[in-house]
Each structure stands twice: as structure tokens, then as C-alpha cells.
Subunit: 107 residues, 2 copies
Amino acid sequence: MDYFSNYRDHVGVNMERWFKSTIFVSPNMLVGMDCLEPGQVQPPHRHAGRDKLYFVISGSGEFTIGTETRRLDPGELAWAPADTTHAVVNVGDERLTMLIAMAPEPK
Amino acid sequence: MDYFSNYRDHVGVNMERWFKSTIFVSPNMLVGMDCLEPGQVQPPHRHAGRDKLYFVISGSGEFTIGTETRRLDPGELAWAPADTTHAVVNVGDERLTMLIAMAPEPK
């Protein structure tokens, strides 16, 4: 079991969709990174029975949770409660790098 | 329900113990901040059935998870699996500011 990590070891690019990496995982919670290049989108989706947290480390994104949309910059957070539709668009000109957590673990 | 926040609105000082603030909470997960002034300590403790994540935003801390101890700087993470003893000491000369998540929610 690894108890320690650095988010910088979990940053990457996926031009087909978006980049995601798992840092820690248990049945209770998954912790990882979501990285969107400029213009990339996480289309509206929801996680049955699972809450999702986004913490913006670098870049800027337009986050929609339910019917509310807000632009978030580094240090800001978005919270998608279980079964709530959410979406993210990288509206900036640099990579949008986010620490994420989902609880319980997505199966 | 608030879907958005900024960690800077959840930073503070508690000279008696350490500062903690809840940002988001549901039965699945609690998201918040732990802030330790220089020299402050979270003594060894464990959470029954609950995982805890620490993400260092600013400052430096010495983290012990189980029997492993590591100094972490901004951008580094520590993961205390359920029922695993953990402790944090602010070994730096500035406030140690951490985003934390616990899953499931502590009752």
C-alpha cells in the first residue's frame, strides 16, 4: 500500500477524451486526477449513488452542476452530489488540472 | 445546496488545537480543510471504517501513516486507509494548509 504521492506524477494528456489517473483507491473512495486540454469537455453525466469532488490545481474550467454553471480558477472547488448531472469544459488556454475524489468508489 | 467553493474561504487559525472547516458534506464523504500553525500537531489517531486523504496546499508537514513517516510539501498527498493510525506535525515555519477528504462521512 502506498500512503504518499505527488499530484505531479499523475498529470497527463489524452487527446481522444481527457486524461485521468487514479492516485489512491479503496471501496470507500477513489482519489485521482482529471486533466483536460484547452477545449476538451467532460460531457454531462452523473454517478449513481456517488459524490464527486473537483479541486482546480491549475488552469480554468467552466463547471455545471445541476443547472448552475460557474467558471472556476485554481483553488476553487466543485461538488457534484450523488445522482446530480455535472459537466466540465476547459475554457482556458492551458491544461486544466484537477484533483478529484469520488465516494464511494466507482465500480 | 452549495456546489462551488474556494479553499481560501476555509483557512483559519485555532491556537488551542488546530483549525478545521467543512466545505462539503454528505453521508458518503466530508471535504474540508485542516490548518496547522508551526509546531501544531494532529496526534496519532484513526478513523474506524473511514479513509482520510490529505492534500498539501501550502506549508510543509511531517506525516506518519502506520509506521511510515514522510515530509510532504505543496502538491503532495497522504492517504490514511480506514483504521490506520496517522499523525501530522507542522515542521515548517508557515501555516500548513491542507485540503482533506474523509469517506464515508465521520459521524
